[in-house]
Point group: D2
Chain length 283, copies 4
């Protein structure tokens, strides 16, 4: 048995759903998930579909045929994934360990269906954690005027290990255009505020100063503009005047790790589709 | 232009989605919403679809053709609604006024796309509210041994006014089988607890006694078994040890009115499908 | 029996709690609520206390004595309220009716312990609602170059009716310094975003554009800087990519009315204390 | 400098707050937290107070004096804790690892101010996790007719290691009266439902069957009656018809670990007070 996941977006026109579902029916696929969305303003059609096949699928033939019959005629951007191979993830950290512990725990307990061949950090402090979980740890310091150098070492490692996507688990550095363009919509960050409020550094300090009654966390894809990429997931937690900045930081830890984990899972399960700096999240 | 909403459930088999969407394509319908769900255990397929047509639709012909080509072959339970006519709702109340005020405000401001030809109550206290909103108010007392009599008066009124569905807005009476069978899955109740906890009378008292840290409200369809019908919507609110029963009742008012309003809207928009004492809610 | 509520803030020093509680004990008061907060950074002490007395209290003597024994020595800002008299509230609205309906329903059902002698609006559309609830309605148009004129008519009315505090229930005008200084920390606004995100006009449009996964509402005291006053209460609601701006506006209505109502109640019950553009909320 | 935390409950009478705060003032303590609660029905007074002292405190003298001046006269149950020593916690697990990973991560990152000298399990599967975190792991099988034997081995270990409190982190066994009476209100359990709904085994299966729209988790102290002990903390997560039992189990993992961690912290920080099978939680 095989299973494929299809993601498409294309100019909206009538008959797409019928054409796509008929194609899968003809191929003897059983559709177990279908969802679509139309951006009415921009006339764009988006769709996610999962289908099971009782027979083994020659995936390349399938993709070619899909492209010929549907992709090209409908001018689609499409992706067809099979469930066979695990995505390879790289984890970037600095000194905070709560998201690291959380992701490693989920990884070890089988909750995340990934390969995790490396943790990269600009500091050496978290190495013992990586080692206790048996994950290779690379300390790549990022010095003031030698950021480009550090990033080229990072890129080399990422490519050598065939990394598919990157998770910044409270990595306290701004990643540069170079890395972003090598992994477009494949770098996931957790920001410790409900964006767009409190973008940039020290959001808990500013939240405290403003006297908000809720704090938040935002998981988003990284783009060239700081904390302005497509949002995957957000959540919040109630606070009161009695919470100090230190309390907010502590309370925020749980929020950050939960929201980041949800974002990673949505990405892994191919439930996100980025368009126009926004994220379609099929659930 | 016309718009139809289709709800179906039938034995699960492959090709249904393709068949249905092709039917709508052939009829020149533009599908603007599609969602489906398969109860894998019981092998039942559920689907909701919205389609727009540029031309006016002869709805009876359309329904007949749908039934011939799809309904009968696939052994479907199906419903096709047009957006033309408003549902006619009856409101049952007793002495609590918060849900009543909330629904009337929503009705008057155009938030609920309904006709509201009657409010029925077993007490006369809320009559002035009905009158200030210009809604006919019927006081039908429910006496100990004359419940059947009261219900037959209710039924008579409901039928005379061609009522489509009933909302029990903190109506403090148990409705009998007679009414329920006349309106199967068409009577919506709000219960002031997160069911199945605290079914029956005085849930806030029992919540206080148990020392829970959250209270809830549940909107559900009424069935013969008290507070055990298919759940449409639930929500909760945090409380603490410092809240008295009176505080819970007060805090619960907002919860009750919001959850009930959400349930009414889901029902109105044909987003609910009842099966096996559970509710499929398409959102 | 009488009941008083005490609110104080003063430079932090040791012994305040002991001194205050001893004062109430000496006066035969039974303390039924006490909460305090220290702004450690600025060394300010805040406290809220409720006390019941079995005898009738000569409130002016009590206040004088409190001031002599505690207020002056500890350099306190203090307020002592009795439960006797109701606060008089003015409601400002424009064309949106959902918060208006909600507040009027709460008022009529006795949920808000206030007098409500007036609704002021820059438009005449909502007059029928005011009339159906028997509340005097004043239509004071606010024309481009004659805002000052309109505000002086407002102020005149407010003073004539001895208004204690003002609620802007989706009043779509910026109120000027003149009104703000007449009612410092006594004008409550509801803003339809989780501030500080999306301050200013059309927050739902900007939320949609940014692709956030949560929308919010913020109840705050009005200050000279737009949407930057002390926050009383906030809450949020989850949304998805599939929600249009119109959906957000609809979904936001419930959020706005609930958050505004909570803010009004906190203010009414003397549970808020403003300091440094932040709100201490004693709950 | 020293810091003490005081917890009391006693028959309600006037003057307690004044008497207690005066005592601390006399002792040159600076009160940094005070909260109280009165169970009006049963006329019981509860209070939590934190005080800092610039000098070192002879804690036994302090306690004796407190008891003589206040404890005995007011008939108080009181506890005075110093911040000096860490509580010693034992962790009970079976085969589920998500709560275990979460607690160990928090422990290692310094978020939990405890000693953790042992993990006890009725199965051997999780031993490698304990070892990778360097925590002694004791495999004590619980066989059908030899439960008493297993428990006496557990008790022996607990006493040998001077364990203060026990956390059942998805320990799938019912603990017996013997253990409970040795650790009254000192055994913390996480139950995977919003109690009192779905007490007992397989709550996610029953939640699925009932068709609820929210699932929950409850952290509570263990008493002789299954899942009926004093509730410390609860939280919920929204679900839909489309979630299978397996989905609920997965979704519930995050809920369980967060709610359990919150409960542990409240216990650790002496913020809970048990009375009448309910928990006063001072926050």
């Amino acid at each position: 048995m095989s299973k494929v996941t299809l993601l498409i977006h294309c100019p909206d026109t009538s008959g797409i759903i019928s054409a796509v579902t008929s194609f899968f029916y003809k191929k003897e696929g059983n559709i177990i998930y279908i969802d679509q969305y139309v951006d009415v303003e921009n006339k764009i059609f988006f769709m996610r579909l999962e289908s099971e096949f009782e027979h083994d699928l020659a995936i390349e033939d399938f993709q070619n045929e899909f492209n010929r019959e549907l992709g090209t005629p409908y001018n689609m951007h499409w992706e067809i994934f099979t469930s066979g191979s695990k995505l390879r993830m790289a984890l970037f950290v600095s000194k905070y360990d709560h998201c690291l512990y959380d992701i490693l725990g989920r990884y070890k307990s089988g909750e995340l269906n990934i390969e995790l061949p490396m943790i990269i950090s600009n500091h050496d402090e978290l190495r013992p954690i990586a080692e206790s979980f048996d994950i290779p740890f690379y300390h790549i310091p990022v010095k003031k005027n030698k950021k480009a150098e550090a990033e080229s070492r990072q890129l080399e490692l990422l490519q050598k290990e065939h990394i598919d996507f990157i998770v910044l688990a409270r990595y306290m550095q701004i990643v540069s255009e170079n890395l972003i363009s090598a992994y477009p919509n494949q770098i996931i960050n957790i920001h410790h505020s409900f964006l767009p409020a409190f973008a940039g550094a020290r959001p808990y300090h500013f939240a405290y100063k403003r006297g908000v009654k809720i704090i938040g966390a935002t998981c988003h894809y990284v783009t060239g503009e700081l904390d302005a990429g497509p949002i995957i997931e957000q959540d919040i937690s109630r606070i009161s005047h009695s919470h100090s900045v230190k309390d907010l930081i502590l309370k925020g830890r749980d929020l950050e790790k939960i929201v980041l984990a949800r974002g990673i899972k949505l990405h892994l399960e191919r439930k996100t589709l980025v368009y126009n700096n926004k994220t379609i999240v099929f659930i």
